[in-house]
Amino acid sequence: MLVSIRAVIGRDLRLAMRRQSDIIAALFFFIIVVSLFPLGVGPEADQLRRLAPGVLWVAALLATMLSLPRLFADDHRDGTLEQLALAPQPLALIVFGKVIAHWLVAGLPLVLLAPVLGIQFDLANDALAILALSLLIGTPALSGIGAIGAALTLGVRGGGVLLSLLVLPLYIPVLIFGAGAVDATLSGLGAQAHLSLLGALTLGGVFFAPWPTAAALRIALE
């Protein structure tokens, strides 16, 4: 079981490496959104600091969402998805591997980069730490929930928009608790509560999501 999850992760990571775009795309988009804002809004430190958690989390959310349509689309187009569906192990396991690979490629870089970008917004050290931590805990949920949406809209007319429509409502709690955690730190309250809720969302998202995703994929292949 572990072996086949490893095989999926390995393959997806290698593909991402080969294409490179996937890794950098999310990251680059994140940087762009975050850096364009001070440009459009003006550079007052106080205002920027208050904006920071919101802007960073919204940017992370968008960056993850944008990479979702390709999660299964490439495999669908070139016939690999059929092969995966016909593999002897449960499809949900393979999906689990793909979710993890997606997070490693699209989520983890954001976590690592966020503190650096946070400095631009003049955030204090503890807020930076909580920012990174909240992203670390929260982004896997984005990948997990997103996988369901990506599978449901696979090969469907108007897939991209529909995907956002399906996925965004489910992302809102993550956004609220994530940005809330940083906000709470900024205003001197503890971020504990927000973070544990975020953790619950992630556990639910990552471990529950592969099943409906696998079912949706089978439907898409019919």
Binding site: L152, V156, L165, P169, G204, A215, A216, I219, E222
Partner: protein
């Protein structure tokens, strides 16, 4: 499949359900009108003023039924979707699709009346409070369900894909319901519960319950109307649709 199961599924076949639904619809309209009028009479003409909230509280007779229905319809929709996925019955998917727009309507009304209530009571149209947010998510789930089904040409595939979404979204309903308990928020807690004695005046309670019954009957009537249309559309190649439409000529 055993005999018994087939019998059980008899009314699950569109061609027997279609005329049955047609006969039931007027009755549900009548009930909806009776309950609705009674509830509104009590709520808007007879019920006394609330001490804290003044007359504004009367929105409760719209807000609470709409909110309840939005959640309840989602559960029923998910139930049908789930049975459709499990047993592959034709009717289930149609019922789920028929319920969604009405559910979306009530979710929207819940938000609308809630917002209009919030302005005088809390001083704001909207806060990102757990209950309000989760109710908004419910509306998005309905819209997502409708949009997803509309985007897929093959109705069987559309049913299945919709069913998965509906089932995934079910987690949201308990969150809406218990959010006031789990997080302390601006929104009011439950005042009607099965275990405790009701904490509001009997008159108000009755008004609310009658209005809710009215909405319930309305939902059934509308859903039946819609499911009949969907049946005609989806089963247009079958003989029974031809004969139904032929007779009407």
């Amino acid at each position: 499949m055993s005999e018994r199961v087939i019998n059980w599924f008899k009314y699950a076949s569109p061609q027997t359900f279609y005329p049955l639904a047609g006969k039931l619809i007027p009755w549900f309209w009548a009930l909806a009108a009776i309950f609705g009028l009674a509830g509104l009479t009590i709520g808007f003409l007879l019920a006394p003023t609330d001490e804290q909230q003044g007359e504004g509280y009367r929105i409760i007779f719209l807000h609470v039924p709409a909110s309840w229905m939005s959640m309840f319809i989602y559960l029923v929709m998910a139930f049908w979707a789930g049975t459709g996925l499990a047993f592959n019955t034709r009717l289930s998917g149609m019922m789920a699709s028929a319920l969604a727009p009405t559910g979306a309507l009530f979710a929207f009304l819940s938000l609308w009346t809630g917002a209009l209530w919030g302005k005088p009571m809390w001083g704001t149209w909207w806060v990102w409070d757990a209950r309000l947010t989760s109710e908004l998510i419910l509306l998005f789930l309905y819209i997502g369900f409708i949009a997803l089904q509309a985007a897929i040409d093959d109705p069987r595939r559309a049913d299945k894909a919709g069913a998965i979404l509906a089932l995934v979204g079910v987690v949201n309903v308990p969150i809406i319901y218990f959010s006031v308990k789990w997080w302390n928020t601006l929104h009011q807690g439950a005042s009607v519960s099965l275990t405790k004695a009701p904490s509001m005046a009997a008159m108000m309670l009755w008004g609310m319950i009658l209005c809710a019954l009215g909405c319930w009957m309305y939902s059934i009537a509308v859903a039946l109307m819609r499911v009949r249309t969907i049946m005609l559309e989806r089963e247009r190649h079958t003989d029974w649709v031809r004969s139904v439409l032929g007779e009407k000529e």
